[in-house]
């Protein structure tokens, strides 16, 4: 039972992160759930062992991101309508939030309306706390590109901080 318990512990620890990352890319809960399942099955299939908590965190973020990109690449042939449907889902999530979280809801709205690469930067840099250097390393991008995408995302979000 050791293995099952180990995986369950990792699942409990990482499921929110994987789901959140998937939602940022896919914008709908059905795909996000499928991706969570797929990422954990990859973990089991490949027998991945983590050296450090940072290694674990980075593996889940990058594996989830890659899986999302794979799916998005093949979306055109599967379900364009569904993507459109899914677009509205984050709006639904926002609209059901209590009134005292208006700013948070608006922020989520704005984040989700950003282009995919800027959403990704918001997640990695602002939320997960990776530096520009680390983000560039993870995504195999130049530091200047990361800086520019972060700056664009920050401009879009700036109206929130001017309240």
């Amino acid at each position: 039972m050791q293995d099952r318990e180990r995986i369950k512990e990792i699942y409990d620890r990482q499921v929110d992160r994987v789901y959140r990352t998937a939602m940022v890319f896919m914008k709908n809960s059905q795909d996000a759930e499928d991706i969570v399942q797929s990422v954990f099955l990859t973990l089991i299939e490949k027998g991945i062992q983590f050296d450090t908590p940072e290694h674990e965190k980075a593996w889940f973020i990058v594996t989830t991101r890659n899986r999302c990109k794979d799916i998005l690449k093949s979306y055109w042939r599967k379900s364009v309508d569904f993507v459109d449907e899914g677009m509205n889902e984050t709006a639904d999530i926002v609209s059901t939030d209590p009134p005292d979280s208006d700013i948070r809801a608006e922020a989520l709205d704005i984040i989700m309306s950003l282009p995919e690469d800027q959403r990704e930067m918001i997640l990695l840099h602002y939320y997960e706390g990776y530096t520009v250097n680390e983000t560039a390393d993870m995504l195999k991008l130049s530091e200047s590109k990361v800086r520019s995408q972060i700056a664009s995302a920050r401009r879009a979000l700036s109206k929130l901080t001017r309240r």
Binding site: Y11, R20, Q30, Q37, I44, L108, L123, Y127
Partner: protein
Amino acid sequence: MDENKIIKEALDSLIPDDQQKDDIWQRIEACTDVYKLDKAARTEVTAKKSSKKSSRPSGSMAARIVAIAAAFVLVFGGIAWFSSTTEELPQSLSGYVYAAESRATDMTANEVLVFTGDPAAHKDLDVYAPAIYYLDSDMLIFGNGTGLVIYDLAESRVDGLVDMQAICSGYYNTDTIRTHVLVQDDKLIVYNTKSSGGKLTANAGDDFENTEESLEPWGYYHVFDLSRTGTDVSLMECIESGDDKDKINGFIEAGSAYEHEHLLDAFEHMAYIQSNEMDDIVGYGLGSYSEKAFVSGSDEKTLAKSVLVCRSKDAHAYELCTETGKKGSEPVFTQLNLGITDAMRDEVDELNRLPEYKYNDDDPAIGVICEYLAGEYSQENYDAGKNVAIPAPTIYRQEQVSGELLVFGYFWTDTYCKNGNTLISVSGGAVPGCFHLVKDGDTYKIASIDAAEDGDKYEESIRKMTEGFPGLYEKYFAGDGIDEKVRKEAINDYVLSNGLGIDYYKDYGWDPVALN
């Protein structure tokens, strides 16, 4: 307010609720349970497949194998999630997955031929005609997820067939796992790959490869000797198979080069495909052409691009359509005579006939609804036993009100056809709504149905339907309607109760789902 704090709080809300977490975990466990079971099933299955089959294995046989396998696991594997006694997880589960597929029901040669070569039988499996994998002046090899046909162009006859399901290589129109065919030195090689994103190094965070899709070996490869084809319509024997990853990686490398050299998008690269004449050929019925054109010839003069074409007006035959590189040249059509007769079609129809759906669980209210839905969808789609409608309702709540039992839910029904060991979804539909039932002896009968309206009236109709039942309205918008777990259970129940040799169900464009 601090920008970082706002962003953090906003993204904090993007988490699954407890129910979602439990559901996903159960799905993960279910997958790993299948792997575990099938590892144990391997011995039994190998024994079964090595004996010459005189008749199609029955569902009870399949059930017996699974039962024996389960006992095997309990006795020898313990009840641990994985049979490993160390803390290490298995490095790869591909062997287990292959074993899962070893339960495949072998098809007869006629079934493989009809499902692969008859456009009418093929229409539920794909929108395109079968792919061409090899073509020279003497030989044409084409196929799909059911089989491969080796066709002698000079003699106009089928020289050999490969049952792709029997070798666990029927992955066409799938999501991540794909079957590839490579012809190399008189050898026909079939192998599978699984696509994944960028690979990670051991030091995640330090060094990530880019995110381009990569293909990894998956399952087993099989090799067939093309010099040993016969002159009758029969299934070819595999001369070599294995799961050696290095070997499969070699095939992947050679196969990628082969595909790069020989396969092109037909619509983009064949002028004739985009012509009005082709529109007439394909029409709006059964007509189709191969998605990829096969490129043969070594220079500009001999270069030719070919696809299989089915004319709408001739629903039972494919033609080989070849367009040369010469300017202004018309395509040449070659009639293929696969020798498929009406008697063979009848035989295959009989083997793949599906019994009517019956509800077998113990909730009479749900039973009445399911049989009603199956009846409704069958009226539209039940094609003389070729298709069956299987409901998979997601029930939100049952309420007793003024002598009526109200059953609220998302009532999904799929229609399937049988293709060897797989139920292929050919259509589906949903009724989000509420059934009003009244008692009828020990059971119920349907008094009326409130169905949600379409378009912008949808939300309002749900609101009206759920008025007076707090928390119910939200349920219609909380999930995605169809519950794949319910669907799988419903299909499993149908398969087991009718003793069918079905191991998978499949939606177009998605990987097949293994039944328990």
